[in-house]
Symmetry: C4
């Protein structure tokens, strides 16, 4: 095994102690870089510690650059990594500081680094939680179509009700355009309720009331969809640990089955 | 098949390629017309591009007019279409621009065009999603009575609690009338919480607290109703495609069972 | 059957056409009286139509008085009715207008009339919805203990977190006392979020964030409790329509039972 | 049994009448002390009744001191109690008034007394509700891993979306830093919606809309997790009190079954 393969094992896999150590170090570095960006965005902190933050920013950027180069070197088909989802994120979150010396203002794109947090999911996937999160994801995937229909209906409903509220409130009290009115409808329907826009006419308040009760009720729909999907997922995974047929090794029999459903052999 | 029947097939059905193309074109036109109305309602955009928007408005109106006339021509009983739900919506969403030359201000009713979005459901119904949305709708229909009882109880509760809050807060802090007070109660009970009206007296805040916890709790009721309805719907659709054993008439076999799980007889 | 019994049948029961007509008339009168109280509370309407509203108020009060007296006359043990829940509500919602000539300001108690709306439940109970609402109520009754534990935990949590926020925000930004701070905590935990009080310090906002995610998560608890209670209720009612034993007529056998669980007779 | 053992039985256990009486007295005292702290924090009440409140504060502090000393005396290994969770809370909630004579301002820590309310759970655990709350806790414990994955995903999502909103709104309308922007995202995602910060740019409002619908939808995930956990818990607890047939070892009999439903043998 040459050094490239070794490096690949460390960076891309997590089976060896060195691989695990690399993943932990990467998570720590990502979290640290995100906190750094957050602190820079707070103007009072940035004014006081600007130089120190910039120095740490450079440290992080250099480390990310090294990681990026190593990833390209040790993989067989670098193009595949560079054009992959995580490859693009890695590139975009490393480049801004270099660019800030060419284009002023591009430092703002440091915030793209927050996208690196998504990598945490990938690393965890290799280590732990895999069973739990896969059950969640499977259930959500299976109820995708139903959730799409639901979101679709909510959006159409919001457009119709938002337009209606625009006609009723008529430029008053923040309902200055239909898009704003639709924005308000979604704020109300999802029970967020900022209060930056609120109906003033009695009729507007009456319809707002109906929208609220509607929103309060239809929250039950996604909940119902997901709950049923979860409970089905659970049942499927439970049925796996029942007896297997001695004759044909088939699994998944009913709990009270006396004969194999596949070959008819007595269980 | 004469040209009327052909036209009917294209406009009212979606089995032929031409019919599908017409439906897709119609959805695009509806979405475009709704976006147009939205843009017009934003005063800054309307000031700048008023003439262009008006021109596009005319294009859309003429196309909708042609569609409306064709629909009447190619159907056998035009009255049935004209008085149907979608017939009325089609008419109301086409006429406003013509009317705006007779009555000033009627342009506002262009917003009625948003109702056309409902047709999207009809078109989709013919094409896709039919299975998924029918399961959702069936489940909701079956739990209709329970949901009605629930909404009824919520409204009565809101009226009683709203009246109570009016007595306690006594014209202070926005609780100026019982209807306004009921409006506030529903805003709170559904956990929307605008904050345009908020109790100021300690007793009012105490009761507001109880209303909130109540609202937080009773959201469980519609969720429970819908979830149970969904899970029943799921089970029914699974149990429908089972067979019974010819020997012992046992039911509830797995979909891929070859032998009865109870007596071992070949299915 | 003398006139007292006839009257009793009309007023207290709903089996005869006359009884049903009385119930419908009573519901209409109650709804009308509640709307009347609402309109009076809107000062702009009250200023304009004060005399007309007062006249209608007298009509309603006289009708309620007659109903109250008839109820006492035609029942065998009047005391039982007078001291019953609905008896007290009927009395309290009838008396305020009379009292307003003795004590000024007692007119405000007309709002108690909203409690009459509860009678609507009673009337409906006799006619319709009985099955549906009884399933809902049974399920809620059975999960009473769990819901009590949950509400209890929420209140304790709110007191502790509210006190904590008072210490952190320290009289700033509306957290002027511990009770107010607890009020804010409940507003946040239940995801109502008025915004009349909002944390200003970074630490306060951080803890507010935790409270929100907590509130977002623990809404799952009552939902879970009620959903499970509903689904159990459904199953119980389904088990009623299974076979009964020919020997001992026992019901409620398992779907795959071969012998009666009570007498051992072959099913 | 010497007096130490007797004292231990009264203070630490709840089986004897004296033990129960002590627990009830302690709950009353804790509730009283918490209400006292609340009243002190309301400046208008504190100004008027400062001396009376201080006196009652001393009464409570002395009683708590006595309880603390007795707890140490009557236990075999005092260290274990002192360093236990409740031991630390008892100490911290007793000491502030004494400290207030040494360090000014330490009276504020009286609010720590709210933590004493947690003891109420412990006392109740010994007496009642044990079955109900243990079912709740078991279900929550089992779904711990899934809930952790969910909260983790929500936090990452909030950081990414919050950073995005900071870039879009650009210091306007309250989005002054990334942490504040993340705070807003969580306020929106959990459907709390204070309205102290609200997006002003059209693009910001559009993304806010997506965040709201997202938050409205993903509330279904914890609900689904907990509901499934509860329903599994319910089934398990029902299956625990069943018996198996002596003849055919069949399980899953009704609680009131006298004969095996499978072979008809007497149970």
């Amino acid at each position: 095994m040459n050094w490239k393969d070794k490096l690949h094992e460390i960076i891309y896999e997590a089976d060896t102690p060195a691989g695990k150590a690399f993943d932990v170090a990467l998570i720590v570095l990502i979290l640290f870089s995100v906190i750094l960006v957050m602190l820079e965005s707070v103007s009072s902190i940035d004014l006081k510690y600007h130089d120190q933050l910039l120095f740490l920013e450079w440290v992080v950027t250099v480390l990310f650059s090294i990681e990026y180069i190593l990833r390209i070197i040790c993989i067989e088909r670098p193009k595949k990594y560079i054009l992959s989802f995580y490859g693009v994120i890695d590139f975009l979150s490393t480049i801004p500081l270099y660019l800030s010396y060419i284009f002023s203002g591009s430092q703002v794109f440091l915030a793209l680094r927050a996208l690196r947090l998504l990598r945490v999911f990938r690393i965890l996937k290799l280590v732990q939680f895999i069973g739990e999160s896969s059950i969640l994801l499977n259930a959500l995937k299976k109820s995708r179509a139903k959730i799409a229909v639901f979101i679709y209906a909510v959006i159409i409903l919001s457009i119709i009700l938002g337009t209606l509220m625009y006609l009723i409130e008529g430029n008053e009290s923040g309902f200055t355009s239909i898009p704003r009115s639709i924005y308000w409808t979604i704020v109300t329907l999802t029970t967020v309720g900022y209060g930056d826009i609120a109906p003033q006419t009695p009729l507007g308040q009456f319809i707002a009331t109906i929208i609220m009760i509607l929103g309060y009720g239809i929250i039950a729909v996604p909940t119902g969809i997901v709950t049923v999907a979860f409970s089905k997922e659970k049942k499927d995974s439970i049925h796996l640990n029942t007896q297997s047929c001695k004759n044909c090794s088939m699994e998944g029999h009913r709990d009270d089955a006396l004969f194999c459903y596949h070959c008819g052999h007595k269980l």
